[in-house]
Symmetry: C2
Subunit: 196 residues, 2 copies
């Protein structure tokens, strides 16, 4: 008998996605390229491997679907054990995940290299985060026109999107603060040292 180990996480993201709609590994990989993938990253190799394991665990079942003018596919769906596992995990306390912020390490180390280069990198990250906000805003407009009327599943999807917007906005604001402070510091230092 398989016991569910703590720390499993992609499994649960897949369970959530398959609960919303059954699909093939390929379809899941596409969802993880957007939608749920904005909040839990996973490559297709990870997904195929994990689906295999989840079938062994008895959490999901697989139907072979033949298609015309397209390769056959395996459509996965959540079964009773999978739903039970998901329900168990949902209320189980999980600590906020480990933080890995490359940009923070670069800013902290900036003095050890070319500060101008780090400033460019910060500006680039600012653009990336602003782009993500654009994407989220577009989804917000398209799928959640009247947020006040949302209930259940739709409300939850909307709230997750709101989290993405909030966190990305925090990054953008942070980049702006850092750019302003580091540029004025950098400028005052370079003008000083250039006056010889």
């Amino acid at each position: 008998m398989h016991t569910s180990l703590p720390g499993m996480a992609l499994e649960h993201a897949i369970l959530v996605s398959l609960e919303e709609r059954s699909g093939s590994g390929y379809e899941l990989a596409r969802r993880f390229g957007k939608s749920i993938g904005f909040f839990w990253a996973a490559s297709h190799q990870q997904i195929y491997r994990t689906l295999k394991r989840m079938v062994e665990l008895g959490w999901i079942s697989c139907d072979h679907v033949a298609q015309e003018s397209r390769p056959d596919k395996k459509v996965y769906r959540v079964n009773a054990d999978g739903r039970a596992e998901l329900a168990r995990w949902l209320a189980e306390p999980v600590e906020p995940g480990a933080i890995r912020n490359d940009l923070a390490v670069k800013i902290r180390g900036a003095s050890a290299g070319d500060v101008g280069g780090v400033l460019d990198e910060i500006a680039r990250h600012r653009r990336r985060h602003a782009e993500r906000i654009e994407v989220y805003r577009a989804i917000e407009r398209r799928d959640f026109g009247e947020p006040d009327r949302l209930t259940g599943r739709h409300l939850h999807q909307y709230l997750v999107l709101r989290g993405g917007i909030r966190v990305e906005q925090a990054f953008v604001d942070w980049c702006d603060e850092v750019l302003a402070a580091m540029r004025s510091d950098h400028d005052s230092r370079t003008t000083e040292s250039d006056q010889r």
Copy 2:
């Protein structure tokens, strides 16, 4: 000859930390339990393994230091190749890291389980994030009394801390938004279904 592979990351966090101050694996592990560790998580096992590799790569050197009434230690310091590698990486474009937000997955899947349990979990996360802000604020008060006067290294350390505060605040605000919206949705549903 070793080439520096992309994607290496703990190495660079260690280089930044050792540039600020040379130290032993044990001391580094402690720094990764706070300070730089707030922005790049690493366990002592990872650190010892990585230090070994970095010596092989020629990025750092190691001095054996005998101590009285304490075990001997190995003090690592960055050498020329390490400084060059750090400078190279600092300006190299790195994409914002993969996002892994357990809580977002839980919120999105809440309908598949006990919504009340998920609400408790969100409240718990809110407390964790608020606690982190407290820690950051205490460091801010203790180490960065007059932020406007900061320059160079100190300014950079301060700005990284500001990022931590901003991101954690975004999480707290998000949790509040989610709790308010989900509670009112959950309440209206349970009162309806209880009236039979």
